[in-house]
Amino acid sequence: MLPPHLTNIKRIFVVVIWIILVVIYTKYNPNNSNYFPKCPFLSITGYKCVGCGSQRAIHSLLNFEFLDALYYNVLLVIFIPYLMIGFLLELLKLKFITIKKIHNAFFNTKTIFFILVLFLCFWIIRNTPFWMLN
């Protein structure tokens, strides 16, 4: 979240932006407001993209409504722990040799291809009648 090369003023700026975003996404429901950007892909094609529902899912998570978050975008909820572990491994990979090994396993080619296929499958399946969370 805070890259080490930033100056202090930029760091403060980044923190303030994060706080503003968290407050906005906690307080306001994207369902009831027009000020949240709509997905261009959905607007143009009528089909949901991989990221559709992310803003509503974040709103639900910030309000501890976990089932709603799963309903809006299950992939986002699944990937939050993955992203957190991944960023932690990237931070620590230069410091410890065991962390480097875990890092390399975490980012190996097969895993990345699996993620790619998962995203593409989710994109297709969530637009079919087989997807129950509609």
Partner: protein, 95 residues
């Protein structure tokens, strides 16, 4: 396999996933493919190639981030210029 002792260059996988979910789907997918490229070159011992792939991955992920940011800014400008009611009318047509 002597290169395995050196750390893997940054794959930009995590940033690409975030871009796919929040900003710009097509460029995020390109970012994930580039991340796979970094990883596969590193695993085959081609560290130079992996570094180049890493720069390529960084480029596409940043393009995706800024494309998403521009769309959001344009959307907000549009909303404040034309008013929220026009958007509400357009959105209600969708459903």
């Amino acid at each position: 396999m002597e290169n395995q002792n050196l750390p893997m260059p940054k794959t930009w996988l995590l940033e690409s996933i975030l871009v796919t979910l929040f900003c710009c789907l097509p460029l995020g997918i390109v970012g994930i493919i580039n991340a796979a490229n970094v990883s596969s070159k590193y695993e085959s011992g081609d560290l130079e190639g992996a570094k180049k792939a890493s720069q390529e991955a960084a480029k596409w992920t940043k393009y995706g981030f800024f494309a998403g940011l521009i769309v959001v800014i344009l959307y907000l400008v549009f909303i404040f210029v034309f008013g929220a009611s026009a958007i509400a009318a357009a959105a209600s047509d969708q459903y």
